[in-house]
């Protein structure tokens, strides 16, 4: 979907601020929020990262920018838990489970995995190394991993990384479509992507699923 998460090439965010000797987690809640995301993943009904990322992307832009990284993670988990009916707003406000509330008995998603989406399949590759490709214009509201800044742009395949499940979601059910296909690393010149703002010796590499690409 076309939203604020797709930041590549944007202006206006100012300098990069580096915190010296930064701790892994600044406060205890950050560690718990992070661990909760990992710990409840099977119960969350997410199948893979795609659905989780889609929910991050659906945070309204003004809120997305006002939240820190772990606030976003926590926020989508909290919303998802309520949407699934596993917890109620009242329970969260009280800080304890309500023994009189009957939550739906949801089995963990059968294919839930935080692991690799790589698949051991034999599928013919459409493109080969050195091939010149163009990234398609894909502007649906569902989740994809094709940044706006390369759509319509031409690059060169430099490697075929094997077969992976597509992470794109159907917006309705937030689950990836799967649709196994080759994922290629594509090299784009700064000149192609950024024109007047480019540098002749800069190159940008993206890993793109086959269905994002067409022959140029």
């Amino acid at each position: 979907m076309n939203s604020i998460h797709d930041m590549g090439g944007m202006h206006g965010f100012g300098p990069i601020v580096v915190e010296v000797d930064e701790p892994v987690f600044h406060e205890e809640w950050e560690g718990r929020a992070y661990a909760l995301s990992i710990g409840w993943f099977p119960a969350s009904q997410y199948k893979e990262w795609g659905g989780f990322r889609h929910n991050l992307e659906k945070i309204p832009p003004k809120d997305y920018l006002n939240m820190s990284y772990y606030e976003r993670w926590f926020f989508v988990n909290e919303q998802k838990a309520m949407q699934l009916g596993l917890v109620t707003e009242e329970e969260l406000n009280n800080g304890n489970a309500d023994p009189n509330y009957l939550m739906p008995q949801l089995e963990p998603h059968p294919d839930s995995s935080l692991g690799s989406g790589r698949l051991d399949l034999e599928i013919n590759a459409k493109f080969e190394n050195g091939g010149v490709v163009r990234a398609k214009e894909i502007n649906g509201r569902a989740h994809n991993r094709l940044p706006r800044y390369v759509r319509g742009k031409t690059g060169t395949i430099i490697s075929d990384n094997g077969i992976y499940a597509l992470q794109d979601t159907n917006e309705k059910d937030e689950q990836p479509y799967d649709d196994p296909q080759h994922v290629y690393t594509v090299r784009f010149s700064s000149e192609e992507l950024w024109g007047n703002a480019s540098h002749g010796n800069d190159f940008i590499y993206l890993d793109l699923w086959e269905s994002y690409l067409e022959f140029a």
Binding site: G31, Y69, Y149, N161
Partner: protein, 230 residues
């Protein structure tokens, strides 16, 4: 570049959130740019309560196990971090066969050291040379090789870095104190799929007599992301 105790407005982003007083950051933050300050870990005072509430309620319903959460926190605070990636780099510096394997198939070579895992199942190692400098980013979220570098620093997750690394990498590197000559090719790796990237920095001059363990101690996180050289 940062200062403590910066007062910020409470972030109202959840209907029904517990009511809290205006929050005062308890962490070191900077607000060099107002719009950027949200990328830093200043919490509204109520978020700690909300996190605690969700964990407690899910625990009481047997949907999470707090000991599993303890283990996850401990793993990333104490056991997984840039020291892992530094072992890979140091080994590549002293063992040319390993380096060749690492650049040919990063996943297999890092697997030899048992350093693969969640958000780092498929590894690509890119080598800095006299002619090429590499920089890693994830513009869409903040993908990062957890098993070799740990969890990403705040700046890596910041809007500014995500936005700028692909359009003006040289300006970004300059902010990190790194001037890259026009003759040097810059390669920016935007982690859009499941490959995770580790930069193999150039071995520093003056390190000829160091052994592998001593070398690992000089490898920094930033050098393996590509915002520093050694």
């Amino acid at each position: 570049m940062s200062r403590d105790g910066q007062k910020i407005d409470r972030r109202k982003f959840l209907k029904g959130a517990a009511v809290g007083a205006a929050a005062v950051s308890s962490t070191a933050i900077s607000n060099a740019q107002d719009q950027e300050s949200a990328d830093h870990q200043h919490a509204p005072s109520d978020i700690a309560l909300r996190v605690k509430a969700l964990e407690t309620v899910l625990t009481e319903k047997n949907l999470v196990d707090p000991s599993v959460l303890d283990e996850v926190v401990d793993r990333y605070e104490n056991r997984i971090g840039p020291q892992n990636g530094a072992k890979v780099v140091a080994k590549a510096w002293v063992d040319s066969d390993y380096k060749a394997r690492l650049l040919d198939d990063g996943t297999a070579a890092i697997g030899e050291l048992d350093l693969l895992g969640t958000e780092g199942e498929h590894m690509v190692v890119v080598e800095n040379t006299a002619e090429v400098h590499n920089l890693v980013v994830c513009t869409l979220c903040s993908c990062y090789p957890w098993p070799t570098l740990g969890l990403p620093p705040t700046w890596y997750k910041s809007s500014a870095f995500r936005a700028r690394a692909v359009i003006e990498p040289r300006a970004v590197l300059r902010e990190f104190g790194l001037e890259v000559s026009d003759e040097t090719e810059i390669r920016v790796w935007d982690s859009t799929a499941e490959m995770r990237y580790l930069v193999l920095p150039r071995r520093p001059e003056g390190a000829e007599d160091m052994n592998e363990s001593e070398l690992a101690d000089v490898v920094t996180r930033d050098s393996m992301i590509g915002v520093a050289i050694l």
